[in-house]
Amino acid sequence: MRSRYKMRWYLLFVLPLLLIFSSVVIVPFFMGIGYSFFSWDGLPLNPKIFVGFDNYIKLFSDVRFKDTAIRTILFMFCSVILINLIGICFALFVTSKLKCKNTIRMMLFMPYLIGGLILGYIWKFILGDGMAAIGEMVGNSSVFFNWLVNPKYSFIALIIVICWQMSGYVMVVYIAGLMNISEEVLEAATIDGAGYWQTLLRVKMPLLMPSFTICLFLSLSNCFKIYDINVSLTGGGPNNTTEMFAMNIYNEIFNKNNFGYGQAKAILFLLVVAVFTLIQVNITKKKEVES
């Protein structure tokens, strides 16, 4: 009697969310695995042809896809390093004992709130027409030209924008980590005669390892999944030279109508993201120390 009463409440509390969650995440997940074995153009009336692992085999001979994958990984490495470097510098700056630190913290964090799509459009203006206009004004066109017509510079533009967005975010996490280091440890270091740099490298950095784990994880998965900025800043262009993983999947499915093949890419995408993040978390977790 008692247990049935409990059971009813349990279901009442858990079931609504579980049902929504299952129909939005779980069911599509398994459907997606299924679709990846079929060849289908997305029209409901057209037949779905079972092709087994053909979609996955095809992935390895797809040149555009290979380029995209390599580019995304390169992009991820560059941006993750830059984001964390900038973030930790900012965090060290704004945890010093200055009066204006809160204002500055607020300014540095702001881009994160604006959202990828809008950020991309802002920078599209600055790095595209804006740069060209400045170039005409100062008469120097070696740096000041429309960056977004040049593949290499477009790639750099993407890195700049994601750094602008994410640095403030990881800064906030690093600040929390720095605040957690106890005064006693720092005092002990000073008494032992450690200077600023020694304290920073030998005491603060090792104690910050948990923050590194989190920030690397967040920036890594966000950079991998970059889509909004890609759409608004470069649109994949010029000539698909800045198309990233997520956008390639979108184009394959919704523009080229290769639903099955695109879904196979999407499954591979999941595996790649999972492998990279799990490796990273494992490596950095091992380096964490007890204070």
Binding site: F13, S23, L117, A176, D228
Partner: protein, 278 residues
Amino acid sequence: MKRFKNVILSCFLLILGICWISPVYIVFINSFKNRAELYENILAFPKEFSLEYYEKTTEKMEFMKVLGNSLFVTIVSTVLIIILSSMTAWMLVRNNNKISKIIFNVFVATMLIPFQTLMMPLLQEMGWFTNMGIPMIDSLGGLIFMNIGFGAGMAVFLYHGFIKSVPVALEEAARIDGCTPWGEFWRIVFPIIKPTTVTVAILDVIWLWNDYLLPSLVLTSKGKRTIPVATAAFFGQFTIQWNMAMAGLMLTMIPVIIFYLCAQKHIIRGVAAGAVKL
């Protein structure tokens, strides 16, 4: 000497901060200029502050309508995520049996799945629902439904972590006094877990307000667009007239900036708390 050093460092940091947000400033000043003036010098101050372009873009983007849609979707989704996730997390913690553990682990594991992996099958499934008479595609309700599903993992995870540290004693006392689990949860537990609610609310508002891909796939008709979808459509429509576009971008940023100025401390704290608990 020390004070002198501090002044220099402060100045340096202020300049850094101003440079960091200068792109927003560039958007702001250029949103008042006409086409010729804009290309003359994009860094210069505008000659006059006329709201002409703001009025035009407001009309073209149907900004008020779009703003309303965005507010509706963001607020309703966030509130529902909070209610449903906190209830679920509480039950999962307090009945820590095998099934609860499995459910919790599934919630957490799915946080790793990128949206791109789910989008196509999700749209198919929601298409079936729509055909069965439950409007999911091209409806704000459907979008909210999907948002709840995608926000659930993170919210349940954060609540789960916090509720584990809340002592059971109070709830037991309430139960002895004849409270149902419903009353127990809303009168006793929910007020205690308020810090996590703030964190979840802030993280979800930031995510939902800026979410682009899911709404762009789900909302097909013009009158139902949210701000990011409308912005993308606005930029896709014609070759970009930058002065108009700047006014449009400024309009989309104003709500965010107001929200940020009002709840600055909570936002920074909430984001940090949310990340640290991951």
